[in-house]
Each structure stands twice: as C-alpha cells, then as structure tokens.
Amino acid sequence: MSEKSAKSPLLKKKAALRPVTKKNLVTYLMVIVFFALFQTLSATGNLKFAYKSLLVPICTSVIMAVSLNLVVGVLGELSLGHAGFMCVGAYVGSFFSVLTEDIITVTWIRFTLAFIFAAVAASIAGVIIGVPVLRLKGDYLAIVTLAFGEIIKSLVNVLYIGKDSNGFHIAMDSAKLNMELDGMVIVKGPQGINGTPKDSTFFIGFILVMLTIFIVTNIMDSRTGRAIMSVRDNRIAAESVGINITKYKLIVFTISAAIAGCAGVLYSHNLTTLSANTNNFGYNMSIMILVYVVLGGLGNIRGSVIAAAVLYSLPELLRGFSKYRMLIYAIVLIVMMIVNNGSYFVKLKEKYSYKFYKKINSKKNGKEAV
C-alpha cells in the first residue's frame, strides 16, 4: 500500500508546525507572560498584599478548570464532584507534610512527595468513583458525582487520625482515638489539619499550571485524545471502530482526578488550617469550576485558563464596589456568556485566529502555506 512515499502537500503541511501545536504554544506563552509580569510586580513590591495572596489560589483554580475540562469538554460527561478529588489530594498532601515535617527537612523533596502521594490517592478515588459511574450517562452521572463530592467532604469532617508511639489511630470520633500521652492528633475532624507548612509559592503554582496544560493538551492531541473525543462525538460509531469506551472513560477520570489532587496540595499548603466546607470542597466549588470551564469553552484549554484566572480574581478586584460586588460579578458572567457565544464575536475570533496562524505559517514555510 505504500508504493508512494513522495511527500504530498498535505503531509508536508502536517510535518510543519501544525495548528494544534501553535495553539498550545500560544497558551504556554500566555501563562509565562502572566507569571513573569506578576512575579516581577510582587518582587518589586508593586502588588498589594490582597492581590499577592490571590496568585496561588488563581493557579489552583486554573489547574482545577483545565483538569475538569478534560472530563466535561473532551470526554463530554458532566461531572459535579471535581472538588471531591481536590479534597482528597489536599488532605493526603497536608497529612503527609505535617507528619514528615521533622523527618524530611528538605522542603522540595517533601513537597514533591506530597504531590505524588496526593495524586495517587486522588486517582484511586477517581477509579473508585469511575467504575460505578461509567455505567451511567448524562444527568445520572452528574448526580452521582455530585453525591460523591459531598460524601468525601462529609467523611473528612468526621475523620480523626492521630499518631503516637503505638502507631496510627483512626476513628470517627475524637473520644475513640485511644491515644498515648505522647501522641499527636493530626486530622481533627471538623477542625481539619493544623500547621501545614506553607510551601506553596506562585512559582510552584506556575510550574503546576504549565504541567497541567502540558499533560492535558498532549493527551488531546494523541491517539488517546482522539479516542476520547470520538466517544464524546458519537458513542456508537466509536465502538464500531473498535474503541474500548470503558477504558478511555476510566483513563480520563483517573488523570483528571490526579491533577485535581495536585491542585488540592497546592491549595492546602497555602493555608495554615485546612478544613472542608461547602465553599472549598463542596458543590459550590465544583459548580464554580464548572462555570469556568463552560464560560471558557468546552474542550478549549486556553479558554479555561483565562476564564478561571479572570473569574477567580474578579470578586477580589471588585471589592471597591463593596455591597454591589456580587451583583456586578453576576452581570459580568452573563455578559461573558452572551458575548462569548454571540455570532459577531465568534466570527471575529475565527477571523483573528485564522489570520494569526496564516502569518506564522507563511513565516515558517514560505508561500506554500494555506
């Protein structure tokens, strides 16, 4: 079948920098510029403390939004329990850090290990929720994931873990811990975990954002990604060309959960006290992330990054409007929704991106580019 190996124009174009690759490069560049700008501003002392303290949480929400986009936008399943995975990661990461703070004194080793443990724990949670959920579709899947998020939040609220000379004690009630006198309670039910080392920095957040974008976009532009998108576009046709739907759904849930777990570590190491409530690990958070994903565009990674960064910082930036703050926030959401999907803006975007890619193309390979 391969008698003809002379390069056709199509193959040549594929061999050059492809539109997908270019699109991703723009996304990376955008994140780098954002990081460089704010890092310089805060290093030179030109950033108010209130804004400075937003930088790490912005990274957290960007990571959450990009990883949720893998489930909602690329796989096409509505998941409302994404904050649950973040919660698992946050608790495992914090627990590990508090436990080993005196044993592993090199911060970056301890922090890296915390990320690894949290990612593994969250991905296990992803598999556990993934297996039963994969039998469901649409609304039912959304409801089960919502319940999962709430279960995780409620569980950690009654969880007590202590350590003494006899080893670990786990209980659902502080009285039942049976600790020795020298023991230390690490996870204290509703009071959560105290004294997590404050290891998260904007730089680490930036690295994680880049890694997340790298992983998600690389998956999207590969055999795995095409299989996932084919399941989204047409389940029956995907099966008919030999794609194992269960396998790819499980892969998506696992990877997305692992990334959310890392976001949780970043989040928890930015606070001194970690406790689970509706606003950080409950459905409020899950819905907020979903809003970022939907407004940024389903399956659009760059959109998720922008929407998460802008919408997360907006309430803080609007503080000057005092009590009208949430009103303005809501109006911004509505306007974004209308403008983003308005025919004029869509045309403008297409025209702009088309021109932009054309320019890069003609620079790279002379005049033959389309």
């Binding site: 193959l11 576009d233 099966e239």
Partner: protein
Amino acid sequence: MAMLEVKNLGIKFGGLHAVEDFNLELEKGALYGLIGPNGAGKTTIFNLLTGVYKPTSGQFFLDGKELTGKKPADINKAGIARTFQNIRLFSNLTVFDNVKVGLHNQIKYSTTAAVFRLPAYFKSERLMNEKAHELLKVFELDDSADTLASNLPYGKQRKLEIARAIATNPKLLLLDEPAAGMNPNETKELMDTIKFIRDKFQLTILVIEHDMNLVSGICENITVLNFGTELAKGKTEEVLKNPEVIKAYLGK
C-alpha cells in the same frame, strides 16, 4: 469453509420477531446484497452482526471464530467494520482525525508515550498520517482533510464513513444504504468505488440498499427480507425476477 457463517440468527423485541432464522454464508471477496421493504429487519441484522444488539437465538462466525454476543469493539477488532444508515461521523473532529480514529487499533502507542512525547509517539503518528492520507486519497477526500467532518457535503460524509471503516483493516465490510440521498451520477461513482475498494483492500462486502441499479450493478448474490424472514435468496438477476419478490418489494 465460508468466511462469514450466520446460522439461524434471530432477535426478539418483546413479542416481536424482528429477525428470525437468518442464514448466510459469504465467501472471501464476495459482494452480497441485502434488500427488502422498510422494517424488514435489514439494519437489525447489521446491528446483530456488529454487536449493537445481542441475538436471542442463533450464532455467527467469522473465519470459523464465533463472535455471537461479543461487544461491538471486539467484533470490530475481529474484522467486521460497518457504516451507518444515518451517518455517524465524529462531527467535531477533522476529516483527517476521523480516519485516524479508525486506525486506533492498527497503529498503537501508550498514553504515557503521548503525554511525554516519547519517540514512539512521533513514529506512530507519522505512520498514521501516511496511512490516513493514503486512504483519503483513495476516496478523493484529501483536499478536505482539515475540514470538520460536520462541514462536509453529504456525499463526502458517506465516503468518509467508508474510509473510516476501512481504516480499521476489516475482513468484512457492512455498508448500510451507502447510496441513500445520492443522485444517479454519484451512485454510479459509488458503485465503482465499492468495486475498487473490494479489490484494493481484499474485502468481503455486505450491502443494504434500496437503489436497484446499484444492487443489480454490483451484487453477485442477494437475499430479500420481508417481516424479518428470508423471502428469497440467490443470484441477483434470478431473485429480482421472482414473482414473490416483485409482489412484496419491487412492485410492477
């Protein structure tokens, strides 16, 4: 031994026998037709042979291997590919990527290789691109490779579905009304394409069609179905002259 062997295949939906006692033997390289009035069970047979429905009775074998009750993906891996009556493309993917999804089980590399862009990724992707391009060329779709599948004109969408099915490297290809909605010229072109791909890719083809020009033009043998049962079977010219068939389906 025949390549495809179907023995007494049947399916009941509640009390309704959608297909009953369907028998078929296809030799390698055959071009076989399946015709009949609407609701006769033609597409149901395709759905049975591709695992979309599980048969309630009977068995079928490909190259002596039993495939009854297997999952659609496994049946495709075993060598049966199909197209759909109502076109089912991956509408948000490009034409090129649609074919590459078809190559999913032909050229493999792991998700790890994809994430970390290991050499296996580049090597396999290059191979995939070459193969997909070759296939698109056969179907004269290479000009629209970067178009979204949903933006293709109707005739080309039909062709793309066939290209995607062939990308899975099947032994047996099931075409469900490939000429539906085509004008006589396009149908003529399609007939040539079907014959051409059978020879080029050494396929065995089973086709459902209402267009009698296409059926008499390319099918060597046909089965006529009516109400889920076999009405007639044999050489195309002879079956089409059968008075029963004329009465039930063709009309005067």
